[in-house]
Amino acid sequence: MIYAGIFVGNLLEAPPNQALRFPSPLIFGRIGKSRHERDGYGLMSIKPIWLSVALACFLAWFTSPVFAQDTSSLQGRVLDAESRLTLPGATLLLTRNGVQIGGQATGPRGRFEFKDLSAGTYVLTASFVGFQSKTDTLDLPLTERLDMYLAPVQTFLEEILVETQQLDESRFVAGLETIRSEDLSRVPMPDVSYDLAGYLVTLPGVVSTGDRGGQLFIRGGTPTQNLVLIDGMRVFQPFHVVGFYSAFPADIISYADVYAGGFNARYGGRISSVIDIKTRNGNKEKVELSASVAPFLSGAQVSLPVRKGDTSVMLSVRESLIDRVSPGLLGSDLPFRFGDRYAKLHSYLNQTSSLTLTALQTHDEGNLATGGDLDPDAYRKSTWKNAAYGMKYMYLPESQAVMTSLSVYYSSLKSRYRPTRDELRTSDIEDVLMSIDFTYLLGPNQIHFGIFGNTNFFDYKLGRLGTAGATGVTSVGSFIEGQFQISDYLRIEPGARLEIFSRGLKNSFGPRLRLIFQPGGQGGHHQFSAAWGRYHQQIVGLNNEQDVSDVFTVWAASPNNTPVPKAMHMMAGWKGRPLPWLELTTEVYRKNLSSLSFPVFGTVINKVAQFSSVNGYAQGIDTKVEITNQDVFFSLSYSRGFVEYNRPFQRAKGIFRPSVGGATYLDPITFNPPHDRRNQVNIMFQYQLGANKLGVRWQYGSGLPFTQVNGYYAGLSSEVEAGNTDFVTAPGSVSVSRADPYGSRLPSYHRLDVTYERKKTFTFADVTAMVGLINAYDRANIFEYNIFTGNRVDQLPIIPSIGLRVDVQ
């Protein structure tokens, strides 16, 4: 039944009346092909790249609208075969010679129209919730309007639920990037399986701390301001300690919506971004099995029908090997161990309802002391464990286009972090979420309404800093969002979210608005989109921002009577397809941020006892150029960003409770926080030649800010405070004088990854072998630098990698 959700999700997200024309079957032959064909191992012919590009240019030019002659339109209606009533919102798919020409949904009166079609034979398929799909072969031009009658289905859900996700490639929504499972294979990885994390860092506006630590900063937001969901379950630490990998195996992912900002009202509780991952269901007809072996990460995945046609189970296990093979492979220890386990049961309970049970567990363990030869005395074992469990029941009545879903989710993160060998900091968070969602399908328009209740528990102990606590916060709320097709050119998506909390903020109201404008109507070559919204974050994650990369996060509720972090997003963008094989995207954004918690670094070394409240903004421009044809994929993205925080004069606050002892007053300052990456370039190239695939990625990121030191001295402030003369002979404690906050920059980050894959098909299985070089020119990118000791830990050196994957037929 989860696919019913996906189906409706498509209706909600895909622009109705969509009819983008793809004039060249050759260029767009990728669309609609089987997975094997999409991966380039099927019927692809071997052509020199220059010939493909030249031919694509020629065809694109020749078939562009300027040269299109003798075109006609295909108009018609979709109706209920029994009642003869029109069916608004029915989906139409038009193909020619097996290639998708366009797709759209019927309007309020059940009407559709495909424009600018040349004469010839076409195949039109109409489908609608609760009706049998119907396919007609048509010879254009037609002399009269076409009426397609759909018969109501008897076996309701089995017929209507779509088992494969077909995303609309042409849609453009400001702030949103939809990643499909096949996209993940474009990014070279150190093993033969792909991963969402590898792809995310190629997106413009996404800043990573590198290949260790697993932290992503999205358009000026910090990792704790990102909401990460997998099938609706929140995941607090979504990336493994080796930053190549997310907690989600690529094999289970159907698609992921990455909102870099301006996200919908259905999402809340975070102020920066949303990564919403939808997994696929297991195969309900036959057993599927795959396994991969590689030095970094090996895994296996099995999908099997439990009750044929109705119920499936999918299991996935991954486990790292790098800590065991790194001495031999790299010549030095890489003391990280991580893995994840995922299970999903999906069942059609009857014709109108389904049940999904999902479980995810991840574990990470690492010695963060150094990446080189380890001093046993410096060993700092730190661990992270995610757990997420979910249940979703969906109900779709036969007679009404209203889908109802009831969801219950539980998530937890247990972090154990050792800043020194003898000090242990812990932070646990548990999250329980229940929600009921209703989706109303009103022809080309949709309304999505939901109510929810959420409880969080926190428990933290900060070692020798002496701060510990156990708190909780509960909230209830609702959201409503609509999608209204005003005309062929304009769609408006307003929304609002109201949430009432048991502490801190008390209540929040977040209005949202999105506009999508297509000057040429459906099928136009240009799209514009803009989004705006207000966001609040009641629970906060606090990091030690002085470290270049800090993987320890303390989660807690915002204190009472303290403003909670807020943000206002504005973004606008343009996407153009001037040539069929060329796609250009540009987006500008600004996020106004307020009441963010930011650590106060006193003069005592490595002590973060207090926090301040800062305001600021993030703004920038992201651009991307993509060239796609049958054999070649090329992507160039560039991001120019700017993040600035300002701290007004204030009294420093204690961590989660009033500060004890003397008050510390903070001067007003303006600074660029440590994730302010100004320039970022990402180049991806993939070339397929039959069963061979070459992948290349180069990344560049300008240096991140850090705070320099003026020098060290004996601190005597506590002795002076007493107002006596003890300070004259007191030895004091070693203190540091810091220069302007984040006034200097680290070296830039850049890295080249290259992989080569070859796939061989046997009767029983597909076998893929991979060789690769990660960090091919052995750039010493910085991972961690202790400004007090001068100890520098670099990211991964050049790593040769091999992998083998078997997909059993």
Binding site: G602, T603, I605, A652, G662, A663, T664, Y665, L666, D667, N679, Y700, S702, G703, F706, Q708, V709, N710, G711, Y712, Y713, A714, G715, L716, S717, E719, V720, E721, G723, T725, F727, V728, T729, A730, P731, G732, V734, S735, S737, A739, S744, L746, P747, S748, H750, R779, A780, I782, Y785, I787, F788, T789, G790, R792
Partner: protein, 284 residues
């Protein structure tokens, strides 16, 4: 346009390549002058002023930076007085050596001082402080009877908490000519208002304390009251904003000042009589 873009690229590409090749980190701010850490304060309660001074070390483990040739002085910006401080090697509690600078003078209320550290006549680090100005005492008419009698005061011009507040009553016991000053401690009383610092004096209770101090019983009536004063310790602004270092230039640590305020006023004669004292206040 095209030429402009090419020029931009010609500049940008080498810049990016240069940046991309640079892989060094400079953790320490490069500065030709020494940065200093100083800890101390000017104290009106004593004639000798002491400030600890240290040159910033480039790393945690390095030896203290030599202060040879360092010149320290204070300038009283209110009257222009310049005082040269002298260095003094001191043995710290842990047995190591440190450096303190010493000067013999007593600062004045309301005066602003700068503490200058430099070499060869060039000031490299500076700290400033203003000893709090004396407030104006605005007494209200005492209210209440006997042991409940109280007097409200406003210390106009005072913005921060006065500490170690004492009431000083100059009295003569019955049949004695010798005057005695009885001190009654009030701790850190009062609150800040728009008018200034407001506090309340418990004259009725203070009378019992005076009687007790003089060894007299509670019915004694003929004690002569000569003078009433308040003494308070006033801390400069820097004490209220520790950690901010707003008053330090090229220096770190803490530098502030402590003033001592003595202010008197006359208590209304009828109130003095109600307290059971003989009014012998001279300022009437």
């Amino acid at each position: 346009m095209k030429r402009g873009i090419l020029s931009y690229l010609c500049c940008l590409v080498p810049l990016v390549l240069f940046q991309a090749c640079d892989n060094t980190i400079e953790p320490l701010v490069e500065s030709e002058s020494t940065n200093f850490a100083l800890h101390g304060y000017l104290d009106m309660r004593t004639d000798q002023q002491i400030v600890r001074l240290e040159g910033l070390r480039p790393n945690i483990l390095s030896e203290p930076v030599s202060l040879e040739g360092v010149e320290v002085s204070t300038i009283d910006h209110t009257d222009g007085t310049v005082v040269i401080w002298r260095d003094s090697i001191i043995t710290l509690d842990n047995g190591t050596l440190g450096t303190a600078f010493v000067a013999n003078f007593r600062p004045d209320l309301g005066h602003e001082y700068s503490f200058n550290v430099g070499r060869n006549g060039v000031t490299e680090g500076r700290a400033t402080t203003r000893v709090p100005a004396p407030p104006v005492v605005l007494p209200a008419t005492p209210v209440g009877e006997s042991e409940n009698m109280k007097q409200h005061l406003v210390l106009i011009g005072l913005k921060d908490q006065p500490t170690k507040v004492h009431m000083l009553y100059e009295v003569s016991p019955p049949n004695e000519t010798e005057r005695q000053v009885i001190s009654v401690a009030y701790g850190d009383p009062g609150f800040l208002s728009n008018a200034g610092w407001e506090l309340e004096i418990s004259l009725g209770i203070d009378r019992f304390i005076i009687l007790n101090a003089l060894g007299l019983d509670s019915v004694t009536q003929d004690i002569r009251l000569h003078n009433v004063e308040m003494r308070a310790t006033l801390f400069s602004e820097e004490w209220q904003t520790q950690g901010s270092e707003f008053n330090l230039e090229n220096a770190h640590g803490f530098f502030g000042s402590i003033g001592v305020f003595d202010g008197g006023w006359d208590i209304d004669s009828s109130a003095v009589r109600k307290l059971g004292f003989i009014d012998n206040q001279q300022r009437n």
